[in-house]
């Protein structure tokens, strides 16, 4: 574990835990963004440029902004908005779900054969990723595209002004 990894891990965990602990929802989103940036830096430190930059582009540029917009449009989120209780009413079920997710991920990591993969660091360029997406994984890519198009059309239909009944 290098010192850079430790710093980045600290940034990520600080962001994520602040996102859970802070009272103001907008602060939570900003802290979560810090966590996203930390994750992106971790990807970059591992040499995965494409994944790292996509993480910033999608999560910081789109997800964070959209969550902020959604919060602002649905409730008052001024700097002194009504603070909520630190523990929500359903904290036990949340704890169970989080524990189960962690258990599955930890089990997958422990049982996987890491030592064989870590021997050589592969030089993966963006072109290789593109080739893989367009050849081996063309069908999943197309299905994802179809799903996103359907979601887009659905969003437009939801947002369209409703026709008055005759």
């Amino acid at each position: 574990m290098s010192i850079i990894f430790l710093i980045l891990a600290a940034i990520t965990i600080t962001g994520a835990s602040a996102a859970m602990g802070l009272r103001n929802l907008i602060h939570c989103v900003l802290a979560l963004t810090l966590g996203f940036v930390g994750l992106a830096m971790l990807y970059l430190e591992l040499g995965a440029q494409f994944v790292g930059f996509t993480q910033i582009l999608v999560y910081v540029g789109a997800v964070a902004i959209l969550s902020v917009f959604a919060i602002m449009m649905t409730r008052s989120a001024g700097p002194d908005a009504e603070a909520e209780a630190a523990l929500s009413a359903s904290w036990i079920s949340g704890l169970v779900v989080a524990g189960a997710t962690f258990a599955v991920l930890a089990w997958a990591i422990i049982t996987s054969n890491i030592t064989a993969a870590a021997s050589a660091q592969p030089e993966v360029s963006v072109k290789d990723i593109g080739n893989a997406l367009m050849h081996n994984y063309a069908v999943p890519l197309e299905i994802m595209g179809l799903l996103l198009t359907a979601a887009l059309i659905g969003a437009v239909i939801v947002a369209m002004p409703q026709e008055k009944a005759p």
Binding site: I26, H27, L30, T33, Q49, F50, F53, T54, I56, L57, V60, G61, A62, A64, I65, V68, F69, M72, A77, G78, P79, D80, S125, V126, K127
Partner: protein
């Protein structure tokens, strides 16, 4: 000195300095030597641009512009800088102090980071990233967050409205911006800015292989520049500022040097997107004719950048501001279909054999839909001469 030496003078100087640096300090010294010129040159360019812009706009509006400080008013930015440094830094009592403080820093940071992948001259780039263009857009999307933070933390209705406008506009125009750049990535087959420029710095019959000189490149360039103007919140897309209705938009509650930082960030963003447009469409640092290649590469880059700045000032001085629905309509109804069509067009260009036929087909495929789309969109709006009730 040969032209090659003059062209590479900064690279040679850096290599010479690096030769005197002890081995352990090499990486950090190399980083500082690469970054410091960018940190010095572009804010200086910002200072010069503010004077040029005010003088240019003044001429267009039949007045002089700044002409009191220094020769022909060219020391005006010094006076402005001193003024903004000495002014009181006011934080509104109800503002969210931490976010209010972080927003201008994040904005300037993100604006500077974008320069990391711009090739300013031959072998003159801070980081030749494999995914350079992607890096540029990823960093550009951080600006939106900074703008939102500024508007929200000020706790003012005007700044919040300005931030909402700015973010909505930036999200909408980011899509055509990225899609019009994708055309070049498809044609070049790489995301590295250095490789894209190298590909364009080739000459046949004395003319360069700039992507601008293809039907899809030209169309992409125009779409990219419209989107870039909107991304940098400049006139005619400067609704987020909207002096007449929301005073100054998201940075209204900032004063002193933080206010100056917002201006710096805005102009740096404009230079960076212009630099990317130069890199993608206008051959970066390459000369426009093969017999002019003796002029150093960085001079060509900055000449092109100055031409872009002149065009931005010209546009600001001549076009009226759009309305919000017109702004969104332009992005979603005209620019998005045209960029998608442009992506399709570059695919056809790639597949068709070389010759005059592919020029005709690809040009027709862009011009005819553009005309039809423009006609269809304007017909629905029922444009007519506006009559004024009291002013006539």
């Amino acid at each position: 000195m040969t032209p090659q030496t003059v062209d590479q003078i900064f690279v040679i100087t850096k290599a010479w300095i690096m030769g005197h640096v002890p081995g352990a300090a090499q990486p950090i010294a190399s980083a500082i030597l690469s970054v410091a010129p960018v940190l010095a040159v572009f804010p200086l360019l910002f200072a010069i641009t503010t004077v040029l812009e005010r003088k240019g706009l003044g001429r267009m509006q039949n007045r002089y512009g700044p002409n009191r400080v220094g020769p022909y008013g060219f020391l005006q930015p010094m006076a402005d800088g001193i003024k903004s440094l000495t002014k009181e830094d006011i934080i509104p009592r109800s503002a969210d102090a931490v976010v209010h403080f972080l927003a201008p820093i994040l904005l300037v940071l993100a604006s500077f980071l974008a320069y990391a992948v711009l090739p300013i001259g031959r072998n003159m780039v801070i980081a030749d990233l494999n995914a350079g263009v992607l890096f540029f857009f990823a960093i550009g999307s951080m600006v939106e967050l900074a703008v939102f933070m500024a508007g929200w933390s000020s706790r003012s209705k005007y700044s919040l409205l300005g931030a909402m406008r700015a973010v909505a506009q930036m999200i909408s125009y980011e899509i055509p911006l990225v899609l019009s750049a994708i055309v070049i990535i498809m044609a070049a087959g790489t995301l590295s800015t250095v490789a894209i420029v190298n590909m364009q710095a080739v000459y046949t019959h004395g003319l360069p292989h700039w992507f601008l000189f293809t039907p899809w490149g030209f169309c992409g360039f125009i779409l990219f520049m419209i989107a870039a103007t909107a991304e940098s919140n400049r006139s005619p897309f400067d609704l987020p500022e909207g002096e007449s209705e929301i005073i100054a938009g998201y940075y209204i509650e900032y004063s002193g040097f933080k206010f100056a930082l917002f201006f710096l960030g805005e102009y740096l963003g404009m230079f960076a997107t212009s630099g990317l447009a130069i890199t993608l469409f206008l051959g970066g640092w390459s000369a426009p004719f093969s017999f002019l290649t003796w002029i150093p590469s960085y001079i060509w880059f900055f000449l092109k950048l100055l031409a872009f700045i002149a065009a931005f000032i010209w546009v600001r001085g001549t076009f009226p501001r759009l309305r919000m629905d017109q702004l969104m309509g332009l992005a979603w109804k005209f620019m998005l279909p045209m960029t998608l069509l442009n992506v399709f067009d570059v695919g056809i260009w790639h597949l068709m054999p070389h010759g005059i036929l592919r020029w005709i087909v690809c040009t027709a495929l862009l011009v005819i839909p553009a005309l039809l789309l423009g006609r269809a969109l304007t017909r629905k709006q029922k444009l007519q001469v506006r009559t004024y009730r009291y002013a006539d």
